[in-house]
Amino acid sequence: MSGKATLLLIVGFSIIFLIVSRNFGDVSNRAVDNFINYHKETVAHDLAVSGANIAANQIFMDPTWDDGFDDVPFQNGTMDISVQILDAFKNIRQITSHGTYQGYTHTAKVVLAPSKFSKFAYYSVSEGGTIWWTGSDTVWGPFHTQDYLRAHKHPVFFGKATTKRSTIYYTNEKTDKPYFYGGYEQGVNLPLPTTAVDDMEAIADDAGFKLSGHDTVYITFDRDSLRYRFSYNAKNTVVYLPAAAPNGLIFAKDCVVRLNGVVKGQYTLGCSSIMSAGKGTIYLDNDIVFDKDPRIYPTSNDLLGICAENNVLITNNLANQSDINIHGSVYCEKGGFGAEKYDTRPISGNINLLGGIIQNTRKAVGTFGTSGIKTGFAKRYKYDDRLMVASPPFFPGTGGFEIVSWYE
């Protein structure tokens, strides 16, 4: 009798222990499963992002690449990558990358757009000898130079800064290191095109407005009209810009342009030179500003590209002896942006630039001594944030792409 009771007792306890231990084991398994699932999702995400990075790199190396990759095995999972052309005219492309790992799939989508030089707040091929960026200099948008970046007493770069060559410190790194708030990368080779301004002629012939056959053209933007003449005392001819240049490009062939006015809409002015170094230069005779300043009117659509094959210079005249206001992105393919007679002209106030400067060779706009400006201008350059995504029509491109949207 007692033997049966003992047996029942042992069996009963064994069953209880089995149930309890199974319950504990189940809870432990579920806790582990929970993190395994999280791990699988993370790996699938990483695969998708890796695929997007690999495809983006392919496009950076070869802008025409759109083959994609089919189910490439990687890290015990697979990556499936395709490239779609979202807008053939604007050449907008999208990379879609699917990462799959043990039943989990994650998708990353990356949109790329052609990169324009107009996105730069400052670009130069040559820094013009030994011009230093000093502690009083602040660059607000993207910065690039093919030259050395010469730093003195911590200049500030708020946008991404890149150089082809390295950074040189005036004294040493401790006293001169720039503040790169948008990141810094050296060894980036981004050459300036050599025929971008010349190439504008065909676009102007297509649906733009072309002026040719004269040594000098005086151009005044009068909101949505353009007034021009070919000598100082001549009478202006007026054209309505949306009709005269529906694609937004105004091209002055092999001449000097003398420019001023108020711009309404989105336009690029190109000025070429065939042989003479004196031509292909745009002189700013007076203010050239937007009809609606985007700092006051955030919805302003006004954009201007000032593209010279050689130089863009601030004229040494009476109008420019008390500040000059420039709204637009300045591009100098073989020369630079500077002030005419910068070292002999009177103290002329400030250059209030809203936009960016893209130039081959950095030029001076004035001279200064211990007591301040001695001749010419002080610089007040402000980046137009809209140039991060928008560019004046047919503004020269870098030939490559940039990532404009990343979804993961």
């Binding site: 432990s28 806790a31 929970n34 708030y181 948008g182 990141g183 940039e402 404009v404 949207s405």
Partner: protein, 199 residues
């Protein structure tokens, strides 16, 4: 016979008492372990869910399906503090920017739970009412880094220089047997929202 029977009864009572005691202790231990293990499972599930939501949301900082509508993603972070962040993103990919606000509530809000340290982690989408559920969050700490990787010390006055974020999250079980609370910790060492620096 009588003495022997008495000894049997006393012996049975002692053995039965021991068995009863073992059974009761077993019951107590089983209850404690079941409570704590289940609590730990629940807490780990909570941690994984919160981590996934945070990663999903934070990776989209500055994203807009129509990139022309948000020209400068470096302005996406509106406010950043050690336990609070407000940023802009197109969370539902409808080309309209949304604001997302994460912040940690006070412990007093959850005084009804036995755990004195748990708080509500709120997520606010645009101007909607703050949403939260009690997942046992006890710590939600954010550390911000600039493009060079240096820590940005609070208070952060220029949120535009943030390029990556460290997220620290601790959760504890909201109730525990004998106040032995389980805890788990998750840290995303460098979460890079790619849109912040894509242009």
């Amino acid at each position: 016979m009588g003495f022997s029977t008495l000894l049997d009864i006393i012996g049975s009572m002692i053995i039965g008492g021991i068995l009863l005691s073992i059974t009761m202790r077993l019951n107590d231990a089983a209850t404690e372990k079941t409570y704590n293990n289940s609590g730990e499972l629940s807490l780990q599930q909570n941690l994984a869910v919160v981590a996934q939501i945070l990663e999903n949301d934070f990776r989209k900082i500055g994203y807009c399906s129509d990139w022309n509508k948000f020209p400068d993603p470096s302005k996406a972070i509106v406010f950043a503090d050690t336990s609070r962040i407000i940023y802009l993103t197109d969370i539902d990919s409808d080309s309209n920017m949304d604001s997302i606000h994460y912040y940690l509530g006070p412990t007093s809000e959850l005084s009804s739970t036995p755990n004195p340290r748990d708080r509500l982690l709120y997520r606010v989408l645009n101007n909607e009412a703050p949403l939260s559920s009690n997942l046992g969050v006890t710590q939600f700490k954010l550390v911000y880094f600039d493009a060079i990787g240096d820590t940005i010390p609070p208070p952060i006055t220029a949120a535009g220089i943030i390029t990556s974020i460290e997220i620290n999250l601790s959760v504890e079980s909201v109730a525990a047997y004998d106040e032995k609370y389980s805890s788990a910790f998750w840290r995303q060492i460098r979460l890079v929202a790619r849109n912040l620096r894509n242009r």
